[in-house]
Each structure stands twice: as structure tokens, then as C-alpha cells.
Assembly symmetry: D2
């Protein structure tokens, strides 16, 4: 997480101020539940809520206390006691630090995921708009980087839409994975706290109750969460890579909008480089990398060890902030993408209709030629066309083996360009209906 690749909305979720506010909320809700259960005085709970609710927590002061105690939650509680006064002794009763820390992480990840989901929704909206604009814009489909058969630019974007729609679903599932609350004490046995306190805090914080915690919320949840971010980032990389390819000088079918005043290169002023999507490719590598330590965090020792903590202090912000930034950057790129149908048309025409080869192949087999023979007939003419010995259609028409195998009309029909786009509507209905 570095400012260059951060948006404030997401970065704020991870600020000390936000963190301490959530800590307080959890502690306050817990004291209220305890007061309702008669464990502590109602008056104390009210005092805590009022004084703590009104206070601005002093991050520097808390840090100062932590330097002595080497324990962050104790430092906060000490500071809270400075604010609340004697009633502070009712705070955190029967709880353990992780009750606060893990529940707070759950709140932060849930909020972060809400942002990520709305990021994906912005991207989906952009993809849909541009897909509709170019629903029928023909462009060559490429497998292996080699011209295959025509498709439409809208279909490319429809694919991306479907992929990010899956990303959205995955994020919703990931949010459910991590949005749990544990207020269960030192080893998760509720030895010194009533389970109903947990139920109350969970409800107030918008979380589910963790069925069985062991001082900590189990880290398979977080592993599943960060793995999901890695998968979503990989989809970011895919669309970014597509745009990078399209912007290549020789392809030129689409390009990132170029800001006014922007300089492409310190040395070569003419260049318009796909730097945003290249950047996204790199950011995707980072988000993906964070999935690994999250998986290594699962196997904590016995009821818990604290090895996961340093990892999460880093990847909690790093993964969510980076993916949030990336999704927004990608949405912006798609919204502003300069799309060039004329270059698509020119590229489509490059190989002189070679992309009809499969139609010819099919027509030959329908006409009774064996698949093997038909393949050979088409391939030899394709190779000659490729070698510049003539246009594919002309060569096919002139091939004597083909001429004796199929009627001229059936052969001509195999060169119908419209055939390739006849099912675009079907696919769009599947994706957008």
C-alpha cells in the first residue's frame, strides 16, 4: 500500500483512527451486553459509551503507551481508561485482545469488500455500455495471437462483463467468509464471558457469530478471502493484457485515453503507451502474491500463535487498497477507451478471407468429402495464401480436387461473412439479460 496506488476511501478503512473507533465500538457494545446481562452496572456501560463515543482517541498517546507495554490492545484500553475514568475497569471483562482485533479485522474486511464490490459494479457498468456500443463491430478473433475467425468487439467486452460478474459473486462470497465476530475469551471457551455478549456484538457490528473460535477466528476464512482477491486481480490482468495487445502499434484497435499534458516518454515524444494497463498487470501480480502468506497463516499452532498478525497488518491494507485502486483504474480505462473500428476492419481484411477456411472445410464434409481429405485440401490452399501465392478464395475456387467435390454455389456460400455474427444476440442475451 503506497499512496501512488491508493484511494482515500479504502486507505481510510485501515487508518489508526478507524481502527481505534471500531475497537471502541466493539468494547462498548460488549459492555452494554454485559450490563443487560447484569454482569456489570448499566451506569458503567452508559458512561463508557458516552465518554468514549465523544472522545477523539489520541493515536500518539496510544503509541506511547504501547512502546512501554509492547501490547497494542492494552495500550488502547489504558488510554480509554484515561478518558472514561474508573468505570473503564468494566471494559474488556472476560475478553481477550483477539476478540477485539479479529472482530475489528472482520469489520474492516467487510467494509473493504463493500468498496471492492462497488468498484466491480462501476467496471461492469462501463463494460456493458461499451459492449452495447460495439455489439456488432466486427473484429478478428485471435487464438495464439494468430487471426482465427471474426467476432465482435462487443463480444470481447461481454466476455469481460461475464468474468467480472463472476468476480462480483466471488467477492460477495468472500465477504461472507470473513464477516464473523468472536468474543469468546482466552481460548474460545467463553470461560469468563457469556456467549450472549458475542451474539449482541455480532448483531450490532453487522457480523455473524463465529461458531467456534480459539482465541482467534480461524484463518482459513482469511485465506479464502485473500485467495479470492488474487483471482479477481487475475481477471484485472486479463482485461488489461487484452487492451495492451490491442494498443500495440501493429494492431491499433483500441487505446487508453491520453490525458492532456501527459508525456508518453521522456525521450520519444510521439509515443502513446498503454501505461495504465501495464501498471494494472503489475498490480495484479502483487494482489496475487498476497494470497500465499494468507494461506500459510492458516496452520496456527494449537489455539493460536501470532504469526498471522504481521502478515495481516501488511496484506490487509496492501491487498484491498491495491485491488481497489486497480479496479477503479481499469473502470476508468474502459470508460475512456478509444476504440477504432476502422483499424479492426483493416486487420480483419489482412489475410484475404483466410478466416473462411473452416466454413469451406465444413461445406466440403457436408458435400461428402472425408474430414481428413477436406482438411488437406483446405490447408494446402491456406498455406499458399499465407505464402502470398494468391487470395484464399481464388485459390480454393481454382483447386481442381475441390471443384469435383462440391457445387460452386455451396462453395460460394462458405464465404459468407455474416455467418460469423449470427449468434451475437444469443450470447448477449445470456450475459446481459
Amino acid at each position: 500500500m503506497i499512496p501512488r496506488y491508493s484511494r482515500p476511501e479504502m486507505a481510510n478503512i485501515w487508518s489508526p483512527e478507524t481502527k481505534f473507533r471500531i475497537w471502541f465500538e466493539i468494547e462498548a457494545h460488549a459492555t452494554e451486553a454485559m450490563a443487560d446481562l447484569g454482569t456489570i452496572p448499566q451506569e458503567a456501560a452508559r458512561t463508557i459509551r458516552e465518554k468514549g463515543g465523544a472522545a477523539v482517541f489520541d493515536v500518539d498517546r496510544i503509541d506511547e503507551i504501547e512502546r512501554e507495554t509492547k501490547h497494542d490492545v492494552i495500550a488502547f484500553l489504558t488510554h480509554l481508561a484515561e478518558i472514561v475514568g474508573p468505570d473503564a475497569r468494566f471494559v474488556h471483562q472476560g475478553m481477550t485482545s483477539s476478540d477485539v482485533l479479529d472482530t475489528t479485522l472482520a469489520v474492516q474486511l467487510a467494509r473493504a469488500t463493500d468498496l471492492l464490490i462497488s468498484d466491480v459494479e462501476r467496471l461492469l457498468a462501463a463494460l456493458k455500455t461499451r459492449a452495447m456500443e460495439h455489439k456488432y463491430t466486427p473484429t478478428i478473433g485471435r487464438s495464439h495471437g494468430i487471426h482465427a475467425e471474426p467476432t465482435t468487439f462487443g463480444l470481447k467486452l461481454a466476455q469481460a462483463y461475464a468474468e467480472f460478474d463472476r468476480a462480483r459473486t466471488r467477492l460477495i462470497t468472500a465477504r461472507e467468509e470473513v464477516a464473523t465476530c468472536a468474543i469468546s475469551g482466552a481460548v474460545g471457551t467463553f470461560a469468563h464471558i457469556d456467549p450472549r455478549v458475542e451474539t449482541h456484538v455480532a448483531a450490532q457490528m453487522g457480523l455473524k457469530v463465529e461458531p467456534v473460535s480459539t482465541q482467534v477466528i480461524p484463518r482459513d476464512r482469511h485465506a479464502a478471502y485473500f485467495a479470492t482477491l488474487g483471482v479477481v486481480a487475475s481477471s484485472v490482468e486479463r482485461l488489461a493484457t487484452e487492451i495492451r495487445h490491442l494498443q500495440r502499434t501493429e494492431v491499433g484497435e483500441a487505446e487508453e485515453a491520453f490525458g492532456k499534458g501527459q508525456k508518453g516518454s521522456s525521450a520519444m515524444p510521439h509515443k502513446k503507451n498503454p501505461v495504465l494497463t501495464e501498471n494494472l498487470t503489475g498490480l495484479a501480480r502483487m494482489v496475487r502474491a498476497y494470497a500465499l502468506p494468507a494461506m500459510e497463516n492458516v496452520a496456527l499452532w494449537h489455539e493460536r500463535d501470532i504469526s498471522h498478525s504481521s502478515v495481516e497488518r501488511m496484506i490487509g491494507p496492501d491487498a484491498t487498497v491495491t485491488l481497489d485502486f486497480a479496479l477503479n483504474r481499469l473502470a476508468g480505462v474502459v470508460e475512456g477507451l478509444v476504440i477504432k473500428p476502422e483499424r479492426m476492419a483493416a486487420n480483419l481484411a489482412m489475410l484475404g478471407g483466410l478466416f473462411h477456411s473452416q466454413q469451406v472445410l465444413l461445406a466440403l464434409t457436408v458435400a461428402g468429402v472425408s474430414r481428413e481429405d477436406a482438411y488437406r485440401m483446405v490447408q494446402r490452399n491456406a498455406m499458399r495464401a499465407h505464402a502470398g501465392e494468391g487470395r484464399f478464395k481464388d485459390l480454393i475456387m481454382a483447386d481442381p480436387d475441390i471443384a469435383v467435390s462440391i457445387s460452386p454455389e455451396a462453395l460460394a456460400a462458405a464465404f459468407d461473412e455474416k455467418a460469423h455474427l449470427r449468434n451475437v444476440d444469443v450470447i448477449f442475451d445470456r450475459v446481459f439479460a
Copy 2:
């Protein structure tokens, strides 16, 4: 995937014989759909189904053809033509190799996941049985590897149960991610094939239709799938690590059953080593590692490149076979686990009741001592107990600062051992009800 760590049920899913059989099924269903649509003769579809259905495909012959054509699907189709005769020309019409390959992978992964889910269910059953046996068996809970407060052995297993129940849900979701069918042609436009063929094949093969494919099924699905296996493997590692810890000489609270005739060490005949769970730790590392190339596979170029193929030829079998083996091995370990309540009791007693410290702390705050003061009073006596200057309870009782702060009865109540287990039922209800 090596025989040492493979079970035949899973390995068979990935055999050439299974693969070619699925290929044939897909092609046969597709020809039947085409025949129903009137694209090809009904008679041809019947011949294909009958002759292909009765045939045993000759893996060596197919390999031989592939060595020449350097294309596996063409090699298969050529062999199929040898079996079916002239009607073979109606096979694969308007389809592309990936229609067969990707749909086959979907079938294999779906079947593999069914096995994985039943593996998890075997493990869940074992965990539940052992958890019930030891629901109230007291054992020390440990955070940081250090004695914390009592829990029960049943709770440890209940936690594992809840974790693998999540694993089960994740596997079901992962199966849905990959169980899709694409029969959409060269760049996914259905240029030469009716989308209803895809619908028919999908239904027959027990898959959903892929809404938009581009020659290939998009690889974000597979990335999500293999990432899920990595998360499940991490849970395997967690439980395996727990058992390894429990079997340590100094801990001795549980151990893997030791087979008759088994030798623990070539040099040290007395040793009973947790080799199965250590092995599981290593296997988990492998399954986790496979998630990464699966994520890197997502960003294929344009409508597809084939870089994902070599990865999947490896991790398809490797990840599923290894995880299947690991889950079964782990289930076996849990089923046979030698559990030693007497060692648990001895370990619990090791620190002379120091684990009551939080109860004392709470009692002091309830009696009106500030949290800070209470913490200091308890800690200093805990440190003395730790240093061997006396039993914790005796030291606490003798502390004059404490004596003036709390009644002897309230203090004695803080040393009640039963308090720690009073919510075991609540947690079991959450997990198993």
C-alpha cells in the same frame, strides 16, 4: 501426482482411457443434437453412438497418430474415424478442439470434486465421532505454544469439524465454478454450430452452459477452483500440525496409530514419529503451490492462447490426486488417533493452576480494583509462580495488596476449574446441531 501419494479412484479420472471416453461422449452427444436439429443425418449419429460406444479406444494408436499430427484431438478423431467409418465426417462439425478439451476438463474436475467432497465427509464423520468421545476431556489450551486456559479435546476437534465443514462448502462452490460446458466453435461465436448443440451436450454431461466462451472456457473459473484446493490443503496442514504438536515427546497428548511391523527409524527403534501428519504438511505445500500457476493462467491472450494447457495437464491431476490422498490420510489419522487424557491431565497440572490468573484478574476488577492495578497484582504473582517460588494460588492468597481488595470467598471462587468448561455445550450445539 506420484503413485505413492495417489488413490486409484482419483487417478483413474485422469487416465487416457477416461479422457477419451469423455471426449467420445461429448462428440456423440453433439452429433445427436445436430441430428435432431437436422444438420446431419440421424443415421450417422446412431452409427457414431453405436460403434464408438462399443469400441475400446486404442491409446497407443492415438498416441501414434498424435506424433505425426502433433494435435491430440485430431489424432483422436482420426482414430474414431477408423472405428466409425465414413459417418465419422459428421463428428466434430463446426466445433473446435477446445470445445472437447475444456468440456472434458469440466467433467473431470466435477468428478474429482465429488471425490474430494466425499473425502471431506469421511473426515467430518471421524472428527465428529472423536469430538463426541472427548467432548468434556479437559486439556490445556495453548496460545503461542504457551499454556493459556483449559479447553477440552472435543472442542479442538469441533473447531476442526467447523473448519472442514467450511471446506466442504468451498468445494461445492468450486465445483460450480468449473462445471460448465462450451461447444461454441473457433472463437466462441457459434459461427458454424447451433447454440442448442451446446445446451444439449451440457445437459447430458451434467454441466451448465458457459455463457460466453472464446474458444476456451475462461480460466478465472479454474483459478478460483485451484485456489480453493489450496485453501482446503491449508486446513489439512493446520490439523496435521496440531497432531504433530500433540505427539511431541514432551507433550504426548495424542499420537498417530502405529501400524504393526512399521519401523519408526532405521537407526532408533524406539521412535514413534508423526510421519503421516508431517507428510500431510508437505502435501499441503504442494497443493497450495498449484494455485499460483492457475492464477497466472487467467490472462490468456485475446480469445485464447494455449499456455494454460501444459499447466493444467500437470496441476489437474497433481492437485486433485494429492488433495484426495491427503484428505483420506488425514481422515485415517483422526479415526485411529491415540488420545491420551492422562497426559492431558498431567500437562494441565504442570503450572500449578496458573491458568486461573484471568479469573483472579476479573474477580479483582469486579471487587473494584482498577484493571491496571489488578493486572500488576496478578502478573507479579504469576511471575513468581513461574520462577518456582510457590504455587500460584498460594502466592495469590498470601499477597497483602490482594487481601485488602477482595473477600477470601470471592478469591477462592476464582480458582474454580469447572468455570472453564461451562459453555462447551453451547459451542457443540453451534457446530453439530
Copy 3:
């Protein structure tokens, strides 16, 4: 490691036959050293060497014994005793299984690395040959996929040569990392064996002595080794990616040789796809992935646990076999690469000399224009050229601001194409001299 991506030379290193032969060599050398030290009878050592040396170890028999004992080294020793007779009791004295296993792994990795080094040398030879052929073949250099300035095709290959020359050095270092021998007993203390036995075995097996082992050779060595393979694989990916880009339909500057009889696509007979280099991209992902579990293997518990073993049974063969296959495939691709200078020339000319922009920029600053102003003058004309409003040189020559800033001669000199290649010799000397 699957047959499709294996070469027999490398696969054989990992066969059971090879493994048992190395096990025997280690045991035999150890007994000879013990005999020389007087620990065991010379006659016994001779018998062991002769009978074991002449025997063909029966892999099935050893497997059968292992199924009972669940210990591979004991199974082998039992089988060896069947061959050698009573003197077999002098085999393995004071040793532990890992002495044999780890030293064997060292031998296998050393041999594997020798193959990998010779693979790289084949690749280096191919790169040098093709680089020399195309030392001065002009081609456009591309940054961000966008035309930048001219370079030569030879320089592209010289870069790859330099990179794989580094790969060669890294492999030599990696070989040194792992080529150590440990014969130090149960916890590495030489409690029951003389350190001179280790020295002798090391010398005979071509290894260095491991200074301090703890039953096992420390796994940081193997982590460094597999990480190195991951880096080398990443270089494979880079060159493979370059070729994939060059073979794109729109670029067409180079392509993989296309075998006779090879079929590009089951559906589109005209296609010549860069399938070998795409395949290499996937294989690189796999080799890279294996680095991670190797790193996770480092932190074994205390003097050793066996979690590393399952990982190494997999990645030992998988990583070396796959990288060996990949390096050879890449060497073959480079050797046979179809290079198309005419397409390079055509692509170079595409943008009408826009690549002279930096020369113009420099000429303007030399003529006294500030860098900022010069940049603006050049950029605006570059943008116009890019938009199709004229050839870059014509636009520059016609720009009145430029005309007043620089002499026509100096400006014309900035369009000299030869300038770009004047230091090719310097670079070639650095790389190949």
C-alpha cells in the same frame, strides 16, 4: 513430471533403479571407509561391494518390503541383505536413513544440474548463431508494445544470450549449493560413526562435506536451488513471450518452424500457431511454482521433520524434468526459428520515420532550445503524424517554430537512420567477446 514434457536423460535420474544404485554406492563407500578405519572387517566391505555391485536391485521386491515396514531405506537394506548375506549387518552402521537419502538427492540434483547446464549451453549456441546471422538486421525496438526506435534482431538475441549466460552461472552456483554429502548419524553428531566416513563418501560421490547436518542436510540449500530454477524458467518465459509476440499475425517478424504433417488447428487449417512457445510459458509457470514449497521446506522442526520429503519427491523430478524439457524445446525453437527481415523492414517503415523524434529533440536542444520547448515542438508534430496528417519528417520540416530554431542541415541530419545501429559492435563485443 509427465511423459509429454519429459526427456529420458533427465527422467532416468529420478528412476527407482538409479536411486537404488546411488543408495548402494553410498552404503558401499561408507563400508569401505569403515573397513579402512578398522570399524568393520575389510572382507565384509569387499563382499558388500562385489555382491551389491553385481546385483540388479528388484524394485518390486523392495516395494513389497516397504509396504510392510513403511520405511523405504529399511526396505532397501533388507533387500540388500538378501543379496549380500550375513555381511550385510555391517552396512549402514551408525548411519541414519537421511544420510543415504539426502546424499542421494544431492547426487541426483548435481546430475540434473549438469544436464540443465548443457541444455543452456545448447540454447546459448543457438542464440549466438542466430544473433550473428542477424547482427545488423534492422527491426523496430518496442517499449510498451509501441514502436520506439530501431534496434537489430541480433541485439534482441544478444540480450537473450546474455540473460541465459547469467542463467548458466546461476545454475553452477545452484549446483554448488546442493552438492553436499552428510553421513553424520541420527542427529548429526557423528555419535556412532567417524566423520572420516563422511569425508570418504563425499569424495567418492563428487560432493563436498556438509559442515553441520542435523540428521538432514539443511533445506536452505534446496530452497536456493529450486528458486534458481524458477528464475531460469522466468527467462525461458521471457524469450518464449518475445517469439509469441513476433509471430502475431500483425507483426509476423519471426515464427516457429512448422513440422511436416503438423496440424495447426482442428477447425482452422490455415493457422500456424506459436504453440511451442506458448507451451513454454505454461511450463515456466510450473517451475516457478515449485520454488515456493521448497522455501517452505526450510523451517523444519528441531533437528528435522519429514515434511520436506513429500515435497521433494514431487518437485525434485518435476522441476528438473520440466525445466530440462523447456530449455531443450526453446533451443529447438531458436535453432529453427523462421526470421523474416522483410516483415521487420515493413514494420519499421510503418510510422513514417516517427522514431527519429528523439534525434530531432536532441538536435533542437543542441541548437539551444530548452528541453521543455523542444519536447512540445516534437510532440505536437508526432501527434499529427500519428493522426495521419502527414509524414513526421515533412511536418517537422514545415513547423515554423522549429525552422527558426535550427539550421536545415542540422535538422536533416537528425533523420539519419544509420545512427541507431552505430554501437551494435560495442554491444556484441560485450556479450560475445
Copy 4:
């Protein structure tokens, strides 16, 4: 990189101030070389050096310019021009941004590695001191977490010393990998700059010349670098894990020094947790994770794309700062480690001498018993001892099969404890001599 896990020495290397200062140095050296070559006026070079050398670069101002130009090097050069005046037009002539950026990264990584090497040296010194203190302190060696045979605590530390000595060597190699300079222009052809400028800058900045760059320094170098940090971090994890194990309540053989005022747990005041080494385990996961995107960075497109940049902006600081922090923390832990020989002695005695089993086994084979029979005799008594049926030595002495196979004297000698430590000196000589 977060303040909690950063040391200022390392963090400063990555500050904007440091970066701009290095940028200036590179530009200034380059202009001086150009002046010496007569390309630009000597006076200009002097002015640039003097004014730029005296200036404090205004980070906010540079950021402001970058917001407009979206190009960091241009922003810096613009700011430099504000400081230097008209002669600034001679700065950066014929260079490309990456010449500055990549050479700067080389300088930063070289400096960072110097710190890391000195961190390792601090750690080595601590390990040596403590190893010497406890050279002969007996402790049980453990394989699989199970008591094996005695070793010494000094040997444990000697192993760690040898491992970090290898880490030191690896860091030196890694530094050489990345410490190269490229000043070669837009696509690395020296089209507009004399290669002697590069030679001069390299020498002045303490770097080697990059033999062939392509606008960028090839990223296989950085991949090798960050992979090395991942390996070193894994060694940190190993030693940290060892200490965590030793500090377990049941083991108690060593523990982290506990700071005055430190609080172990908010809930359980008695606890002394190995939080530093647990933290190191987590940090190691992070450093390891950064190796992956570094490897993915290698395959840049053609002469370069900028996808590596965002990755390196993150992992450059993150990996070096985190590893620096970890190494220092680990050194501190080792320096202050509380080592408890009395607990080691108690643990050694736990199993009643069972660790003599291999000596007995050996003595039996020397006495003529077959290995198989000897193994069975020893194992059955070991199992009985393990089951609490008597002390191992007593059981062995009483076994009638053993009694008839070996003399009482030879059997008694097999229970000599000193034998285990007789080669400690040999190993120490290997490691420390």
C-alpha cells in the same frame, strides 16, 4: 513496509529525498562524461553539478509537476531546470528515463544489501557467541518432534551459524546480480549517447556496466535478487521456529528475553509468549511472497513494458525493509535468549535413556546379531519402556535373547552418554575455524 516493522536506516534508502539525490548524481555524472567527450560544454556540466549539488530538491514541487505530466522523471528534470537554469537542457541528453530509474534502483538495492549483509553479520556474531557458551551443553536432539539422541545446544546454534553464513554469501551474490548500470537510451542501442558515458557513470556509482540493456536492465537480475531474499527469510523462519518450539511450556529450554513493563497478554498476566519469533515467522512469509511477482516481472514485452514498475515500487522497499527488520529482531532475540540448561537436562532424562537404543543396536550387530534381529530386540524393549513397563536400560539388560548375544561389558558400554558428544569439536572446527 509499515513503520512498525521498519528501521530508519533501511527506510531512508527508499525515501523520495534519497531517490532524487541519486537521480541527480546519475545525471550529473552523465553530463560530466558528456562534457569530457565534448558532446556538451564543460561549463554546463560544472553548473549542473554545482547548482544541483547545492540544492535541496522539493519533493512536493516535483509531485505537483508529475500530477500534470504523469511522468516522474520529466517532473524531476523540470524541477532541476528550475534550479539549474538554461544549462539544464544539457541534462539527460540521449538518455531515457529508465537509464535513471534502473540505475537508481541498482544503487538502492546495493545499499540495501549492504545493510542486510551487516544485519546478517550481527546475527552471526550473536550466534557464534552463544554457540561457544553452550558448545557442550547437552540437550536432546529431536527428529519429528520426538526425542532422538543427544546433541548440544551449541551445535544447534552452530547449524544456524552455518546457515546464515550461507545467507551472507547468497546476499553478496545477489548484490552482484543487481548492481549494474545502464545508460543506453531508448531501446538500449546507444543511438544518441556514447557508451563511454555509461562506463563513467557506472564507475562513479560503484556499479558494473550492464552488458546489454533494452531501455531497461533485464529483470532476471531482480528476480534472482528477490528470490534470494525469500531464501534468507526462510532461514529466519527456521531459527525463529526453533526458538518458538524451545519456549513451549512443556519444553522450556530457551525463551525470548522479556522486556521490563512488557505485558504478555491482556487476559493472562502470567504468560511469556515467544511473540518476537512468531512475528518473524509471519515476516518471513511476506518476504518469501515478494519473490513471486519479481519472477513474473522477468517476461517483459519486447524491449520493455512497465508492468514491473508498480511491483518494484512496492517490493523494493517492502522486501528489503522487512528482511532488515527481521534480521535485526532475530539478532536481538539470539543475543538476549534466555537459555536453560537445567530444563535441557531434565528433558534429556525424560525417557530413561531410551536414546541409547542405536548404540545398543550397533553393539548387537558388532556382536554378530543380524541387523534385522537386533532391530527387533531393541524395538520391543523400547516399546515396553515407552509404555512405562520399566527403564530402557533395565529392560535391555534383562532381555534373555540379548543376554545370549552379547557380553555384559559390551552391552554396558552401549550406555555411555559421552559418546554422543565426542565429535562436537570436529563440527565446531568446520563451522567456525
